[in-house]
């Protein structure tokens, strides 16, 4: 019996590795997609910081008279100032208009009596900040006080705030669920109603349980190797941050892969359609799951979590993503364990249904 177990195990393993299409979609495609994510998103975090804003000030008599504005903008444009906001050019009005048209500055300031007038070309955060700071200077000038005291603000946000990480977590979720292709393919090989090879296996004197179990195990091993490669790549090359609990990351990946395989198993056993359609259904389920987990727009996950929490509680892609997210962002592990246990229950239920369906199945000899 054990002999047969390993015999089947060995050959399933061999055929899986030799199937180029399966290996492409489960091994290579996530890595390619991850690389693209990395190329596209690596700069977003830097782009979201407030940059030094290029502005101009019309240097006329009004401005020269106004010590407040002179001092304030000098201070705000000072290279040594840590809270520097502006890069300011002092020019005449003609030059300022030219600079604005050429896109060298986002706007310029001109004093009309006491009131400052700002000319800009379009809306945006830089323009808003420019207007806001100018008003602040104006208001301070009315209090007549030069020295402003700092106020006490303490930032208590969690440290890891890079939300592009979610993209990579959904990628891992996608790869884990794509593993279902393996179990669909394997079931196709060993079920007598699906392939000629399956008929041959069915009439051999081996227990069905042995065959199913060894095949399932073989596809799990292949799937885990694919995951290990993907993790190695995301950690070493793309430098995705998975937080500090490396053992728990491995556990989550293993449980996630199991969930992927069990979806494939359930589709393979329960649906009576061609292999191509089964693969199509699996890819469809995976993509919808990943969409709801935030792959095509990170805020999606939060919208679903808030609006219809039940959806992401049964969505394996969201469970995997949420597990990684809680390891990365939260210091406590309650949420992580909730996700891992949900994934276990999810896989358990699907495997149980599939096995119930496989048991005691007999084929008439028509």
């Amino acid at each position: 019996m054990i002999d047969m177990f390993f015999h089947n195990f060995k050959y399933i393993l061999k055929t899986l590795f030799k199937n180029k299409m399966l290996i492409f979609w489960t091994f290579a495609f996530p890595i390619i997609l991850g690389t693209l994510f990395h190329l596209a998103f690596s700069n977003i975090a830097n782009n979201e910081k407030l940059d030094i804003i290029d502005i101009a000030i019309v240097k006329d008599e009004e401005f020269n008279k106004n010590i407040f504005f002179k001092m304030a903008f000098k201070e705000l444009s000072d290279k040594k100032n840590e809270e520097r906001l502006f890069h300011t050019q002092y020019v005449d009005e003609e030059k300022a208009k030219k600079l604005l048209e050429d896109g060298e500055i986002i706007g310029y300031l001109k004093l009309e009596g006491e009131t400052p007038k700002i000319t800009i070309i379009s809306n945006g955060i830089d323009e808003t900040v420019f207007k806001y700071v100018t008003e602040q200077v104006l208001q301070m000038s009315q209090t007549g006080i030069f020295e402003i005291e700092d106020i006490n603000i303490k930032n208590i946000s969690n440290k890891n705030l890079d939300y592009t990480m979610i993209e990579f977590y959904t990628l891992i979720a996608m790869a884990a669920l794509y593993g279902g292709i393996f179990s669909i393919w394997v079931m196709n090989q060993i079920m007598p109603d699906l392939s000629a090879k399956g008929k041959r296996i069915a009439i051999s004197p081996i227990k069905k349980g042995t065959i199913v179990l060894s095949s399932f195990l073989a596809s799990y091993i292949v799937q885990l190797i694919g995951m290990a490669l993907l993790f190695a790549y995301t950690i070493l090359v793309i430098q995705v941050d998975y937080g500090v609990y490396s053992k728990l990351v491995v556990l989550l990946a293993a449980v996630g892969s199991l969930a992927g395989l069990s979806i494939g198993l359930a589709i393979g056993v329960l649906m009576k359609v061609s292999e191509n359609s089964k693969t199509g259904i699996l890819i469809g389920i995976t993509m919808i799951g990943c969409y709801l987990a935030g792959m095509m727009g990170i805020s999606m996950k939060n919208i679903v979590d808030k609006g219809a929490p039940i959806v992401n509680k049964v969505n394996p892609a969201a469970m995997i993503t949420d597990g990684f997210y809680s390891l990365y962002y939260y210091e406590t592990l309650d949420r992580y364990w909730f996700d891992v246990i949900s994934l276990c229950i999810f896989s358990g239920v699907l495997i149980l249904i599939s096995f119930r369906n496989l048991r005691r199945k007999k084929y008439d000899s028509i």
């Binding site: 693209l36 700002i118 006080i145 005291e149 208590i156």
Partner: protein
């Protein structure tokens, strides 16, 4: 005619792919159409914040909250640490302000009580911090002179009323143009995915060895056969293009019928033809139907990510933009971006768009030459 009919038969069998990518484009287009007013006048950006108040509803707190309401979008979010933390992470909020117990009391006695905040650290958060700082600083200054709370708040409000005049010179409705640009940029993804996969699939069906042999010995002239094939491919591409243009007309309405809108449409036509020739090349190169779905996915996703169809070009790292220069999509998107920000349409400002068009046509010619070479070398079958 036989070739033409067969072409549509195969297409009809695989229409699901076309439907899927069109639906993706539609979903993107509609979610992008959120109503926003015309941006001809200045509109201040407003960061999204939440306020958690542990102090009493004092005059100072009320004044502060009122001020924040004016300058920010104050969101009502359930005061639960996990909800707030999630909201910060997913940028649903940029800033959360915690007003501690006895804040007003300590403030009025001249102490400097501490405000705790949570921040996303992006520009919206930096701006929110400026907004908060200004009010507290202003209140600090007057607290030294005025001891009555309501009087203090009134005085601070009075000073904060002083505003700068603002004038916006642009007459371009940049919000609307942004939408058109986003739609057409994204359409490049759907177009590539549909064309490369479909045309590849159809060429493959005709290139299968048995069928190819049958075609070669048939009485049908080889040139005529090829022409019919090319024509049906172009026909299919044009239908896809027209479909996406019609979708844009429905979603974006009259703006598409301005000169600018028509240039967008013309630009996408040139791009469609360029991608048709690329698909022709790929279809002739790859002789495996299963591999085609992989290749079309990698090509469409790859060029979309690298050239800025998904993430705006200005957010891409410089070296990615350099790589993107070897792809035709880059020039197509570059034209769209130029159109979106261009103040006036003149000979001068159109120059970069014309250059981009010439480059796309050059790409098409190269693809045609390459596919001819491929077809020739593959012609002999044993």
């Amino acid at each position: 005619m036989t070739v033409f009919k067969t072409f549509w038969k195969i297409l009809n069998k695989n229409k699901l792919t076309v439907i899927i990518y069109t639906v993706i484009l539609l979903v993107f287009g509609i979610s992008n159409m959120k109503t926003s007013e015309k941006s001809m006048n200045f509109q201040a950006e407003k960061p999204d914040i939440a306020i958690v108040n542990y102090d009493e509803e004092t005059e100072l707190v009320k004044g502060f909250v009122q001020y924040l309401n004016k300058n920010c979008n104050v969101k009502e979010i359930e005061n639960n640490e996990e909800t707030l933390n999630d909201a910060i992470f997913y940028r649903d909020l940029n800033y959360v302000i915690y007003i501690p117990e006895n804040y007003t009391e300590e403030f009025m006695t001249g102490k400097k009580p501490e405000l705790e905040v949570k921040s996303t650290g992006d520009y919206q958060a930096s701006y929110a911090k400026m907004i908060v700082t200004r009010y507290i600083q202003m209140a600090n200054i007057y607290q030294k002179k005025i001891s009555d709370e309501s009087e203090l708040v009134a005085q601070v409000n009075e000073v904060l009323k002083n505003e700068a005049k603002i004038e916006m010179t642009s007459k371009l409705d940049s919000n609307a143009m942004q939408k058109v640009t986003l739609y057409y940029n994204f359409a490049s993804y759907s177009l590539i995915a549909c064309l490369v996969f479909m045309i590849g699939l159809i060429l493959n069906s005709f290139n299968q060895e048995k069928i190819k042999k049958r075609i070669i010995i048939s009485s049908e002239n080889c040139k005529r056969h090829n022409r019919a094939l090319l024509l049906s491919n172009c026909c299919y591409s044009l239908i896809m293009w027209a479909l996406y243009v019609i979708v844009s007309l429905i979603l974006l309405k009259d703006i598409m019928l301005t000169t600018r809108g028509l240039i967008y449409i013309a630009n996408s036509l040139v791009f469609t033809l360029c991608i048709t020739t690329l698909s022709f090349l790929i279809g002739n190169l790859v002789n495996n139907k299963e591999a085609l779905s992989g290749i079309s996915n990698v090509v469409s996703l790859g060029s979309s990510f690298l050239c800025g169809a998904f993430v705006p070009v200005r957010w891409l790292p410089d070296f990615v933009i350099k790589i993107a220069h070897v792809l035709p999509t880059y020039y197509y998107i570059n034209s769209n971006e130029t159109l979106g920000t261009m103040e006036k349409i003149t000979k001068e400002t159109m120059q970069p768009i014309i250059t981009n068009t010439i480059i796309m046509i050059a790409f098409s010619i190269i693809f045609i030459i390459l596919s001819n070479i491929v077809v020739k070398t593959k012609r002999k079958i044993g």
